[in-house]
């Protein structure tokens, strides 16, 4: 574990290089502790060999691990709202954040964005559903994640510190899933990607949070019994304490 950490630190220290683009992130492990309420990471980089006349269209995408999900639509039956059609999706990320120098549809055509898989509308999960058209269900999934702050597109949120140096702040809310995330930085020129870089970002729990999470998933029987014993013990303690007061 320590070794892996060290290796990762080295990776940060020497930002990965591409032809025209270097980039890095402020931290490559987000540790969830008991006081975790969400955090920010800073993605920064520089465009190399850039003539000032050339466009500087940057897109930063942070994508979380894929998570299977089911979307259901309610219809009114006899005055009551009932779940009717459903669609199951695989390949939608649990978290998706996009920062760009300007709205992405102005940076590249929809076809190009779809080809590169950039933007919320380019998220194309595989769908199995009871309804012939999964598109409204996919839109609903995106809407839901936007509402809870797990999906966002934030055009104009990349700051240029100089002609070539840029940075952006990526919010990581409290509701994020554990796992491996990817930070992708794209440099566009004339609507096409000319350079791209990908850096992994890990989100994991530490200390007591990690132990409890592992216990709940690896030894659920002991965990369940522990919960019951804790509840009974607290009930008994309070009963004893309050009797003393009488």
């Amino acid at each position: 574990m320590r070794r892996a950490l060290l290796a990762l630190l080295l990776l940060i220290a020497i930002p990965a290089r591409a032809q025209d683009l270097v980039s890095g992130i402020s931290q490559d492990i987000i540790q969830i502790t008991s006081s975790y309420t969400g955090t920010n990471i800073v993605v920064f980089g520089a465009i190399e060999n850039a003539a000032s006349s050339q466009s500087r269209d940057i897109v930063v995408v942070v994508r979380g691990p894929d998570e299977p999900m089911t979307v259901r639509r309610r219809d009114r039956i006899a005055g009551v709202w009932v779940n009717s059609d459903a669609a199951r999706f695989e390949g939608l990320p649990a978290y998706y954040y996009l920062a760009s120098t300007e709205p992405i549809t102005r940076i590249a055509s929809r076809e190009a964005l779809a080809r590169y898989g950039i933007g919320l509308q380019a998220l194309k999960p595989s769908a199995i559903g009871s309804h012939h058209d999964p598109e409204p269900f996919r839109q609903a999934a995106i809407r839901y994640h936007k509402r809870v702050g797990l999906y966002a597109e934030s055009p104009g949120s990349i700051d240029f510190l100089s002609e070539t140096l840029f940075r952006t702040r990526v919010p990581v809310p409290a509701g994020v899933t554990r796992g491996q995330y990817n930070v992708e930085v794209y440099l566009f020129r004339d609507g096409e990607v000319v350079s791209a870089q990908s850096t992994p970002l890990f989100v994991d729990a530490t200390g007591l949070e990690r132990r409890l999470y592992n216990l709940a998933h690896n030894a659920p029987l002991s965990y369940g019994i522990l919960c019951v014993l804790m509840a009974m013990l607290l009930g008994w303690i309070s009963s004893v304490l309050f009797r003393r007061q009488e």
Partner: protein, 305 residues
């Protein structure tokens, strides 16, 4: 004031959760019910995922009931024979409920079934209790002693397998208590409740147990059923959050003790009138949710059913 919940994977304000636990615990102690039927909707309202809310509320109910049951036990107000017989049905009911829970989840109709069950249960029980307690209060103020009608005992008296319950001063068949236990066990698994709001009226109006032993006996039954359901929910759904449970329980046990004291100052009819009004209010709120147009017609659940 924020604390991270490891299983729910979100952070909450722990003061709000403790206050919630204390408030619901107070009502638990006062009425001798677990409070799950209030706690689960309140947690969902506070943003906790509904599966975690339902499963974790059970721990709160266990603790509140434990605390209340010990207080009743000191007053010798528990019929352990009755609790044991009910529990036979309760265990079978819990297993059936967990199976039904999984089935409904696959069908995607869990919210609807749970909502409808809540509305029907709370509505009918609330109305029965309201009528009864108002009649009792009227009789009290009119100077007449509240009469115990025995009309419902007819068919129960004719059932076989009779057993003597000394504490309750009853000689009745074991079948109705087992049946009640079964229903409550099933509802506990499906709705994340202890089932006190069903057991208490059933004991009073169906079995005709003396009100004095009803509180303690129902609490013992609730402890056993919620403990079993918590373990089943933890192993099958990974939905019990121990940090959330600890916070709820810490508030809940204190509230329950205060509630028992407040309840001792009120007369039985008044208590039942208040409980009836509370039950009806929650039922009406849930009914509104079923018929009101949802803000988004689409809903999302993590995982594949």
């Amino acid at each position: 004031m924020e604390i991270y919940l490891p299983v729910a994977e979100m952070s909450v304000n722990w003061l709000v959760i403790i206050a919630l636990g204390t408030g619901v615990g107070f009502l638990s102690g006062m009425f001798g019910v677990g409070g799950g039927f209030l706690m689960t909707p309140l947690l969902v309202f506070a943003g906790i995922p509904s599966t975690v809310a339902a499963a974790t509320t059970l721990s709160h109910v266990t603790a509140s009931s434990m605390s209340g049951a010990l207080a009743q036990w000191r007053k010798r107000a528990i019929d352990f024979a009755m609790a044991g017989v009910m529990l036979l049905g309760g265990m079978a009911g819990t297993l059936f409920g967990v199976w039904l829970f999984a089935l409904m989840r696959r069908q995607g109709q869990m919210d609807l079934i749970v909502g409808l069950t809540y509305v029907i249960m709370l509505g009918s029980i609330g109305i029965i209790m309201l009528r009864e307690s108002l009649a009792a209060l009227k009789a009290y103020h009119g100077g007449a002693a509240p009469s115990r009608r025995l009309v419902n005992r007819g068919w129960i008296q004719s059932l076989p397998f009779k057993m003597r319950f000394r504490q309750s001063r009853l000689y009745i068949s074991v079948l109705p208590p087992i049946g009640i236990g079964f229903c409550v066990g099933a509802l506990s698994a499906i709705m994340g409740i202890g089932g006190g709001f069903i057991i208490v009226p059933a004991m009073i109006y169906l079995l005709r147990m003396p009100t004095k032993v009803v509180m303690g006996t129902s609490l013992v039954q609730i402890i056993a059923v919620t403990a079993l359901t918590t373990v089943l929910q933890a192993t099958s759904n990974f939905a019990v959050d121990i940090v959330l449970a600890g916070l709820l329980v810490s508030g809940g046990v204190v509230g329950a003790q205060l509630g028992v004291r407040a309840g001792a100052k009120l007369r039985g009819e008044q208590l039942r009138l208040l409980l009836a009004l509370l039950v009806l209010a929650v039922g009406a709120g849930l009914a509104w949710q079923l018929v009101a147009r949802p803000a988004d017609l689409y809903s999302l659940a993590e995982g594949l059913p």
